[in-house]
Symmetry: C2
């Protein structure tokens, strides 16, 4: 489902390898069309105040300001988030903050942004209070996976739609704010229409996406969204990058580098110049920026890492598609009821973050060729696995490349790995803890010991001609390059 | 089910914390009783020639020599193992080597030692050719887990028994050979009776266990066996120890140790003096052997590692009990049909094995206090998790302690980590690759950075008074201490 039509917005056709996809370019000039495109939705209820709930509730409220559409936030009784919501303008007094079930019962579009495990446990209570014909909104496909695994289903007669921003909640809000002065800033989103009993589901999803500030919106299925989202965060977006920098830091240290230099050559190189180069000029530009000697090391690192990384991505994909990964999340949430989630930022490297940040500007930010080869190989491994499994190209480049270089890595650059990981969904946080170490071990035990093997020129040629470069170029035309400013 | 009766053998009662368990002491003097105890079984078919199949077929044949019970090996058409089986005396000419389904059809006891994934795929074909009333034999409970998950069942009218040696196949054979001159040498085994239509299932299981050379046999259920076996190999037996030495080697190297010293303080310390001390004198003896300063470091390491290790053991237990771990094995086998299993011995440390081995005898083998604290904490974490989940004490100490120090670690001491891991079942090999990195990351990111925190004296006191020490002492009385001689 990469084509769709709208009765309100003018869609465009994007050229992708092997065909085309329908997309909608966003923009503040479209905000006046939102009420019409929402087709009767006058109350939007956002349930949950995690990073996505917090960002989406604010963006939708601001985009719909001055219209007759109200955005309310629904929280569980005694929620610790109520104060923050009030501080940001959602209050019981004006009816924009309330009990989650009351808000669900009063809304025409109910956006479910509570934690996945809570959604798994509580969705039936929410479904039971919905108005007839109210639209159910999701921001990723976890609930579909859970319903499939548990033999449940969405309630009949309700439109079911998803709008899935390809970035962490903080960046969804931050880039929307920047978008007030820099038109086009924002996080791309996919939409999926899972049930459309009244024929207006697509328009409502498009309105929601435009209201969030998505520079461009593309279509997928809830099933494809679910798989690429859960796999992506476990692989290049969070898990793999965490495992990679843990492995590289120790590698550089054992190779004689001092801690600050080892940090700079691993984490700093990825979150800074490598991410910026990919964002501005694509993947081959990283390799092209190197000297001949460095390029040979990049090629050897790419050769050493592509196979092992692809193997783990395939393993994750199988487990996500099969439902076992989702089971493990539910099991983990049961254990976490009685103990906190383990720390993720305790490695020695992270204690040097302040020193590294202080040196910025005094030393040139350099692309480390070894780091770049391993990172790019892993990113392409994910791209290739997604392409082989039949995902739309917009989904592939957004979920594998754009979300990394334009949303997550800039936050890791400004803060640290724990901030980046732990401001994503609990499902993502658990997945990072689960799969990051697998990538680390694979780099340490397989890729890094093979660096002396000559580069596989066929593999490098196939990298340079990978169709994802064209897809990324097309996507870049739709999303003006805006450096996110992380406060 | 920790009590059982035999119409042939004289069982004994073993005192364990909180009660007693029935056990059977083995010995070559019991071999003449085997035919009687097999109750009508005159042909035993061993299907598969992995490490367990290879060891069990030989041990049973040798123990039953001179009786009218024949042991045959059944292999799949074109099996690469046929030559090795012939070399060890199983031949088509005398009817002791044949096609797996033909051997299954001709046997009164069919021991299923093919790989787990093959068993999952092919068990129905095997069940279909069984003689009426033939006994189905397993050496661990994987198939039960698979049948439960897939809605299948064992065929009615057949006894279903398990005999589960608590050691890798190579040691089951090697200690049996040593047992010819050192009475009592062997690997302990558990038995489980899952179906007993003719009332002789327990006797048959005991005959099989005694025939393998088990110094003592204890009883459990197939379900408890399955869970403790799969969890144990993923935790202290293989996965955790691999993750631990990978973490420690890098830790010592970064702390300034040369590669050989770092190897000695990590791997060599565990596989040599720590394993030998536990085998001879139990877990507290490791701590008691240290100087005061070293004991404080041991205590701090124990304190830092116990919680994080317990958390991962609990996670593994949940996933095994839930069936998700088994699903992941099946999914992995599907992928492995088209590519080999990843290497496990590629880390820099293992290239120094020869140098370390060459130094043996020239430097005193020392218990490194940091290594010992982390290792013992992880072992106790597994013991405590198993005890909390209600496993019999014989199962706990055999699956958590004896199998490690008397079977697996001596092999790792003689060879290397890849040999130890890759001579276990494919399910174990996959589990090690899956969970070892989780332990490594946990030691690196949580335990090792916390070493400066003072020891938790309550936790140490609870370690010193842990009931497992009494259980291990009782088990040691039944199993004379014999150092395995690995050629």
């Amino acid at each position: 489902m990469t084509t769709f039509t709208s009765s309100v917005f003018r869609t465009e056709t994007m050229t992708v390898p092997g065909g085309t996809e329908t997309i909608l370019r966003g923009g503040r000039d479209l905000f006046p069309l939102l009420p019409q495109s929402l087709h009767g939705v006058r109350r939007i209820g956002v349930l949950g105040w995690g990073p996505q709930g917090r960002a989406q509730a604010q963006n939708l409220r601001d985009s719909l300001a001055g219209t007759d559409v109200t955005v309310s936030v629904g929280l569980r009784p005694g929620s610790a988030s109520a104060d923050d919501a009030r501080k940001l303008g959602f209050t019981e007094d004006d009816g924009t903050l309330g009990d989650w079930l009351a808000v669900a019962a009063a809304s025409d579009l109910v956006i479910l942004l509570i934690a996945d495990a809570a959604l798994a446990a509580e969705h039936e209570r929410i479904f039971a209070v919905l108005k007839p014909g109210a639209t159910i909104g999701l921001s990723h496909g976890f609930l579909l996976g859970h319903l499939k695994a548990s033999g449940g289903d969405f309630p009949a007669g309700h439109p079911v739609i998803a709008v899935c921003p390809k970035g962490m909640g903080d960046s969804v809000r931050r880039l929307y704010e920047q978008g007030a002065t820099v038109n086009g800033a924002g996080i791309n989103a996919s939409i999926a229409v899972h049930a459309d009993p009244d024929g207006h589901a697509t328009d409502r999803a498009l309105a929601w996406s435009v209201g969030l500030g998505s520079p461009y919106t593309f279509a997928t299925t809830l099933e494809n969204e679910y798989k690429s989202d859960i796999v992506g965060e476990r692989a290049i977006l969070l898990g793999a990058v965490h495992g990679l920098v843990e492995a590289l830091y120790r590698h550089f240290r054992l190779d004689g580098a001092d801690p600050v230099t080892a940090y700079e050559r691993s984490t700093e190189s990825i979150t800074g110049p490598i991410a910026r180069t990919i964002s501005a000029a694509g993947l081959p530009a990283v390799r092209a920026a190197l000297t001949d000697d460095d390029r040979d090391l990049f090629d050897r690192a790419y050769t050493a890492a592509y196979g092992p990384a692809r193997e783990i991505v395939a393993e994750i994909y199988d487990e996500v598609a099969d439902g076992t990964e989702l089971r493990s999340v539910i099991l983990a949430e049961d254990r976490l009821a009685s103990r906190p989630m383990s720390r993720i930022g305790g490695s020695p490297m992270w204690s040097y973050g302040a020193e590294v940040h202080a040196r910025r500007g005094t030393t040139p930010a350099a692309i480390d060729p070894l780091t770049a080869g391993l990172f790019v190989a892993t990113m392409v491994a994910q791209v290739d696995e997604f392409a082989d499994r039949g995902h739309p190209w917009s989904e592939i480049v957004n979920e594998s490349i754009i979300e990394a270089v334009d949303s997550l890595l800039p936050y890791m650059h400004a803060r640290d790995v724990a901030y980046m990981v732990d401001n994503c969904s609990r499902t993502a946080r658990l997945g990072t803890r689960r799969w990051g170490p697998r990538f680390q071990a694979s780099y340490e035990q397989i890729a890094l010991p093979s660096l002396d093997t000559p580069a596989d020129q066929t593999l490098i040629a196939s990298f340079l001609s990978n169709p994802t470069h064209d897809a990324l170029t097309e996507a870049a035309k739709l999303r003006p390059s805006v450096d996110i400013s992380v406060s």
